[in-house]
Point group: C2
Chain length 340, copies 2
DNA sequence: TTTAGCACTTGTTATCCAACAGTGCTAAAT
DNA sequence: ATTTAGCACTGTTGGATAACAAGTGCTAAA
């Protein structure tokens, strides 16, 4: 790939990102100071290499996924954030009373707003939380609330109806047992130890131990489920992108964005690396028609993910710059708040 | 309106509900044992009265909002729920361990599923809840979590950073004081009694009583704010309705269903009456292109609203029957659980 | 290696046409 | 007084066709 060919691909990708229309040879000659025929010759090569595609035999060229990937890897230049975008984000972080997770969510709302993409924040990942305390509160003689609290201060609660064959005291005793034995256990391991350590003990003491066991089992599994708090912003913003301008695709995407499993998959990043990651269409397992740009954050002991969902024709450099800027601002917050 | 005319309108509305296509005169003659011309003559009158409309001069007739309203008020007959629908709802209520609000939500999920409409549940209005217990859990020596629980089983929590001039034990003592004196107080009156009864006492015992007082004050006011929990089910189900089968309308509706203000307006029913209410299109202030069917529930001291959002061409009698059936099942639950 | 020129392909748009569904109206029939 | 058959009229729909725009590939000359 000589320089002109690189520049040509870069130009094609960037014009397509801007216009959403296939890029023809004529439109490019002025930029490269040559005739459209020359451009066409080069285009044939880029097409043979798989970086660009045609919709039909006589249409302009559109970047392929491979083309986007190449662009992102080698050609893309960091974009300078505009003053007004910067200002909006700065204002959020200027408000020191705003809790960190709220600030992050607000940032992503802004990003959705100014870019017309959808964004996701996965915060308060309770994976590294440990059990601090479980309380049983009796509402009346047949209903109890189980309140689970972790060392990071995450709290979840669940109400249960007790069959009248079970005495509330038995439930309370079991909770005391858990508080004695399992405090400090990572929250997602509690269920296992509940079975291996608590169950055998209460088996000897409580007749209907299975039911009591289930109460706690449910309470904890509920916790693990509920506590990955995900915020999705501008769910309908992405609908404004021209690629989704037909009914079938719109419905498909709407369903996808409603699907909590999809959103979770998008925002869950088990990798250790901290840099920005880009998933383009079918290349990833997410969705053939979207690109996802994702960044982990780790700040004051709380970690999570921020992600942007847009079309494959996404403004890569802008989003990368914005996410990096948010991250930078997060770092500055770290110095202020950080105690651990 | 003589009987035949009523029957004709009923037939038109019901066929349109079923087919979503304008109803012509020919299709109706067999049902009324007369010629299409006779039907047409009647149709002209129904149109003059404003009950039906034409899309264009030579199209079949479509019910107007006034027509739907008349149908709902005078013509609609209760529909018998099918066995399988009934079974699905029964199964939910059969599970006695399921908390009431979860059961209601599950019901509405089912209804969304089988009808292809969107549904909303507004539950746990804590207005008439009373304080049951407040717990202070120490995370470390500078952070505590205050967990507030009401007699109806609603729980909220809030984390506080303690200035190091305050001893955690002072906070815990205050919580014990509250638990002794204010249990049973309606949750929205707690703040007042906190000031008039608790504050004077801790003033004598704690040097920085103002800060401690503020912690509890914040925790309780937070509670009152946070507790209207809304569930929306099958947000994209309604997209399958043919009336929304074009891009612009689809986007409009999607935006509306994302708008929390809209959803809140839909589900908040300040009226005292308990019967099912039906809001048809522009007739109400909600949205020109949807019908909302809504029912309040009041069960074991917890009250809320269930609502279904569909096209104006909604299957009114089916939804009314389903909502009534859910309500009936809720009542049966009342007898089992209810002790207050 | 570049370029002008040209034939060719495809999508888009407009127009026309016929088939169709359904109406309103009139005049005759019941 | 109702009902109905008949007919003219009016939009909708779908297919065919033509004109046009955008853009390509290829060839031959610069």
């Amino acid at each position: 790939m000589d320089e002109r060919r690189n520049n040509l691909l870069k130009e094609i990708v960037e014009t397509y990102i801007k216009t959403a229309k296939p890029v023809g040879s004529k439109a490019l000659c002025s930029k490269f100071d040559c005739s459209s025929a020359t451009i066409r010759n080069e285009m044939v090569i880029l097409e043979d290499l798989g970086y660009i595609e045609k919709n039909h035999i006589s249409s302009g060229r559109v970047p392929s996924e491979k083309g986007y990937r190449y662009y992102v890897k080698y050609l893309m230049e960091p974009e300078k954030i505009t003053g007004s975008d910067m200002l909006k984000i700065q204002q959020i972080f200027a408000d020191n009373e705003l809790e960190l997770s709220d600030a992050i969510t607000k940032c992503m709302e802004i990003i959705s707003d100014i870019t017309n993409y959808t964004s996701v924040v996965l915060g308060k990942n309770s994976a590294d939380n440990a059990l601090l305390q479980v309380n049983i509160i009796a509402l009346n003689d047949s209903q109890v609330v189980a309140v689970v609290c972790t060392d990071k201060g995450n709290v979840e609660n669940k109400t249960f109806n007790l069959p009248n064959t079970i005495n509330i005291n038995e439930v309370i005793k079991t909770s005391e047992l858990i508080n004695k034995m399992l405090v400090g256990t990572p929250i997602n391991e509690v269920s296992i130890r509940l079975e291996s350590e608590i169950k055998p003990i209460i088996k000897k003491q409580i007749r209907q131990y299975e039911t009591v066991y289930n109460i706690f089992y449910d309470a904890f599994s509920d916790f693990v489920q509920n506590n990955s708090n995900i915020h999705i912003n501008g769910r309908t913003k992405i609908f404004e992108q021209p690629e989704y301008n037909d009914v079938a695709e719109l419905k498909r995407l709407a369903n996808k964005l409603e699907d909590i499993d999809f959103i979770e998959k998008v925002s869950r990043d088990d990798d250790d690396e901290n840099e920005i990651k880009i998933y383009i269409g079918d290349e990833s397992e997410f969705d053939p028609n979207v690109t996802i740009i994702r960044k982990k954050y780790h700040i004051n002991g709380e970690d999570g993910t921020i992600a942007v969902i847009g079309p494959k024709r996404m403004d890569y450099s802008r989003i990368v710059s914005l996410l990096e800027y948010v991250d930078e601002k997060l770092d500055s917050r770290k110095e202020k708040d950080g105690k651990d």
